[in-house]
Symmetry: C2
Subunit: 228 residues, 2 copies
Amino acid sequence: MDQQCSCEKCELKQLFFENVTENEMMSLCQNRIEKSYSIGEKIITEGNEITQFIYLKSGLVKLYRHTEDGKEQIMTIAKPFDFVSILSVFSDLKYNYSVKALEESVTCNIPIAEVKGLIRKNGRFATSIIEKMSAVSDKVIIEMLEIRRRNLRGRLALILLYFSNVIFKSNSFDLPISRKEIAEYIGMTTENVIRTLTEFRKDGILKIYGKTIEITDKKRLKLISRLG
Amino acid sequence: MDQQCSCEKCELKQLFFENVTENEMMSLCQNRIEKSYSIGEKIITEGNEITQFIYLKSGLVKLYRHTEDGKEQIMTIAKPFDFVSILSVFSDLKYNYSVKALEESVTCNIPIAEVKGLIRKNGRFATSIIEKMSAVSDKVIIEMLEIRRRNLRGRLALILLYFSNVIFKSNSFDLPISRKEIAEYIGMTTENVIRTLTEFRKDGILKIYGKTIEITDKKRLKLISRLG
DNA sequence: CGTTAAATATGATAAATATCAGTTAGTGAT
DNA sequence: ATCACTAACTGATATTTATCATATTTAACG
């Protein structure tokens, strides 16, 4: 079996398919589909049947859901390696959340039945999936609790630091979401997101050029993010 | 092998150990320890090493964590079958949350290594664990999002309905947590929990006798819990 | 290119919520 | 029973946040 599997070269192989045999790898690889999404495109739609196990190869996405009163609520923002849309995928038949690309994104889709079969067959694979899921849920829950404890300034500081330190690893970056979406993410109104950004600007903590943010006083921003 | 395993009669067997062989069952059963906790006793302490896989056989517990400023934040309240302290248990070495008994509770403790081994060996068991974990994380996350969307009256209504409908299945019940703990759970101050309870009483929605709550106008309480 | 819609922005005001200060009731220990 | 301590409660006030109204800028599109 000299055939080459392109997953071998995939940087996510280590994360998800460690301890998978050659044969299993081939099978996964043959059945997988890679999909590209441009900004704003929907990757997962709430209510749709779960048929694929999807993870993010590159890009940035938001996980969100619709509330009864028609508003959107962002659950978390996911980057590759960090979150891979596995939440509730194994316990439900239909998605209870949607996923949309915030940047050009590439996903890898594997039939969910294939993954479930592999979990049954390969214990080490099962272990790795459990560990990953566990870590992801944890991250989301802690993130929510941390956001909740803070006032508006603290919340906004937190998310700006998240973008700066975790996502973009730079003090200067383009906001991947609108002010409205920030509001939906950290539970405040759009007006107050804008107002608080302006406050930060006036306080000399950051500079704003439309979507571009440059954090000029990170020490102070950290301070604001600390307590209530 | 005529020996009787007491887990055979356990009502949780179906949930966790379906598809487990006789031998595996025996091994699990021999290594397990059942522990009883009285009200207020700690079951899990944040920072401690994770050595046991613990699930709730009976009773009621709270999962909570300590914030840097010394306060407590309740993540969720768990009853048997509903949540079993598996969050992050597989990805971390140490607990990042604590668990305390709100009622007389009984847990079943199995060495975590044993469970991990079984996941590796038995694919159907692995599947069942993944499904359960997935559902639990989902529940907690949705619960948090639902709480967050509401104002204080809505939040309190939500938690009262949760106690009434889900936990105690009665319109009259003893609150298993203090006003302060309710506040820590739904993210408001103790004073406002008390005040809002009083408001509900004055509005004829419920009667209060210390810890005992009797919901007299559930329709209205539901209405309050609906929107922001 | 102009037209429309959406996003960003700002101010005034109302409403919600937290904080502070203090009272009362209950609980456990001795 | 008394003391100490905590939980439950109440009111006044300050602060935070949402709402509403409106202007401006930017993006979207035929």
